[in-house]
Symmetry: C4
Subunit: 221 residues, 4 copies
């Protein structure tokens, strides 16, 4: 998109608006996750009866926490990716929109998973949920693939090969672990579905360690 | 609106707030599109029974993708239009609000279309949906008509005649194709309703090609 | 709130965040207005049967348009008020929050009005709606009363007495016309409830005319 | 997170995006509080019958106002905390996300409280609500604990010990009063649940007084 004649200031604001819009969609998607949390209606409520009903929601709360972390995580990855972007193109806007499309579907697939959380013989809801996560991760990877390519000339500065690979690691570790989790859950539902709980821990250490290594590589050059 | 005494910095932020507000409304409208995607409740669920129910939602997903792209597209057009705006007036604020009004109606008309997606003998839901798109496009065109007019003195720099016409092309190609789609769908529902799937492709090529031509024209001057 | 040691840049961003938050709440409130627009479910739908159902929503659409304009209008007034603000205080934040509280109630009172739109013998829904608008206008007037007072030392520049009064006019003309509309509607429901349709026109001319006069006064000094 | 090679401008925008995203989540959470406010459906409505139904919602409105103020309050505390932040780290992003997680749960726990507001023999809904508030306050305190620690080197300037303690006071006074309120409500439901109404008043005076003292301490150094 030729933006001939625009001041540098205006161009920056135009770029920032893409981030604002993205942040808005993420903020809404992450908040809508909780919408499946329906207030239970008990006819003649006692504290014990209500507690019984709410206890069943414990699993939902865990699932919601995981979905919340996934959306929050991909927001933080988007945040990091766009930290390198200095210009925008039509293609970037559309890749970003398709990425947002995958994010906006998450409250639905997460809700589907929650609705049938107690039906442990079902594999479809979890399968669809994992497909959604893979879709989000794929769009995120495409975004990074597009942005990190110096040919497109939209970067603030050239990114080292190590950091580009690191970016793909950040993007793809989540869907890979979820696919493993899904395959294991076909045979061992309980163990399989617990695997994603490890993701934040794995990622946190990976993030700290690998970022340091990439930074070290860059400094040593 | 006389803003005598305001610093240039403050004026810019005041202008930016119009974009923030717009981005917020777009972000919510685009996310609410998915609200019609209700999690299906199956009594004694099996994977097969649930799949049956979800398979019916495939058409909904396609419709949702199209609506998502339309809202995303008009966001990107708004983004481009406001890239040229340097000052604001009361009239600009109200034209923008009426544009947002048309956008906020889209989750409803899109939901209406989705609700009756399987009733192929109905024409009204699709008709209302197309009217909504025409309304959005019209408001968008009026916004561009207002902004691009140098008399209103709100532009960052004068826009060439080619680029102004290009802006109207971007705005009006969508409703024109939807009206064609609607008219064809009166006789050939399936073929007619598939026409909008072509829009993104048509637009993408048009956008690249025509923008380049306008830029070339400007440079040759 | 003493912000000793903060750079001017940071202070501006801190002030801007109040506007971002406000814009977010407004964007959501204005979009939630449409949530009462439920997609009608018709058992054996024909275009004619569906049209019948939708035709009843014409009144709702008009009501929704009015509520949309009111929220949009108070957003634009807030936009103008904060255009004069250079510093913030705890009190400003809380006045702003209470103003937002009144705005967030509007989708409910607007929905109540819509739900009973066809029950023309009822006065309560419209009365509650008008009370909500008066509450919003009052909080808006308090905000302007606080901001425009040079004692609080939060203004970008001193505002003339004419402009301060003009600000109150902008804020209070809407509730006054709605109270008149309500009182008239007790005797002549149809005529009474049509009065607010005139507000945008009245305001638009008032805005242009009075702003020009205030600007002229300022220039003549 | 090493952001080697980034300009100071870009770094600031990257930091600002965390605030934008936070503001978006807060704006949605504070608006969703009102979603529990369902428009009552009365079969053969009269003004008197409708008023009867709405009068029961008076308690809900009070509860909603309190929840609104709590969310608004923690937004303002977040606003103050991030006013001191100049850099960001992965840990800050995740602490912030967990803080947002607690905020996003509030519309649910607030709705649960509202649903059983008239069942004065129940203690569970209020207990869960208080737990949510304690969770939010705890995450807020952790955020402040992390930010105010000069070791993390993310501050705009060193904060005095008085101001750090003042920050914890702001964060923790709300949950402490709610825990007292809950314990009292076990024996005296009406009196106990009225205690939180005092919070805004207590805080407002505390905020003004203690901030002044901290500022005086800083100036005297």
């Amino acid at each position: 998109m030729a933006e001939a004649g625009h001041s540098s200031n205006k161009l920056h604001f135009q770029l920032d608006r893409i981030s604002f819009f993205t942040d808005g969609v993420f903020a809404i998607a992450i908040t809508l996750l909780v919408i499946e949390f329906k207030v239970p209606v008990v006819e003649h409520p006692t504290d014990a009866a209500l507690w019984d009903r709410l206890a069943h929601m414990g699993l939902l709360l865990l699932g919601f926490l995981i979905s919340f972390c996934i959306v929050g995580y991909y927001w933080s990855v988007h945040h990091r990716i766009f930290g390198y972007v200095e210009k925008y193109t039509s293609r970037l806007i559309w890749l970003n929109l398709m990425f947002l499309f995958s994010v906006v579907l998450l409250p639905f697939t997460s809700g589907l998973l929650g609705e049938y959380a107690s039906e442990t013989h079902l594999h479809l809801p979890y399968g669809i949920y994992v497909v959604n996560i893979c879709f989000t991760a794929l769009m995120n990877a495409l975004l990074w693939f597009y942005v990190s390519n110096p040919k497109h000339d939209i970067l603030t500065h050239k990114i080292s090969r190590e950091r580009i690979l690191l970016g793909f690691y950040f993007t793809l570790v989540v869907p890979i672990l979820f696919v493993i989790s899904f395959v294991v859950s076909l045979y061992e539902p309980t163990i399989g579905r617990l695997i994603p709980i490890l993701i934040p821990i794995v990622l946190k250490y990976g993030m700290t360690g690998l970022t340091a290594r990439a930074a070290a590589n860059e400094n040593s050059k």
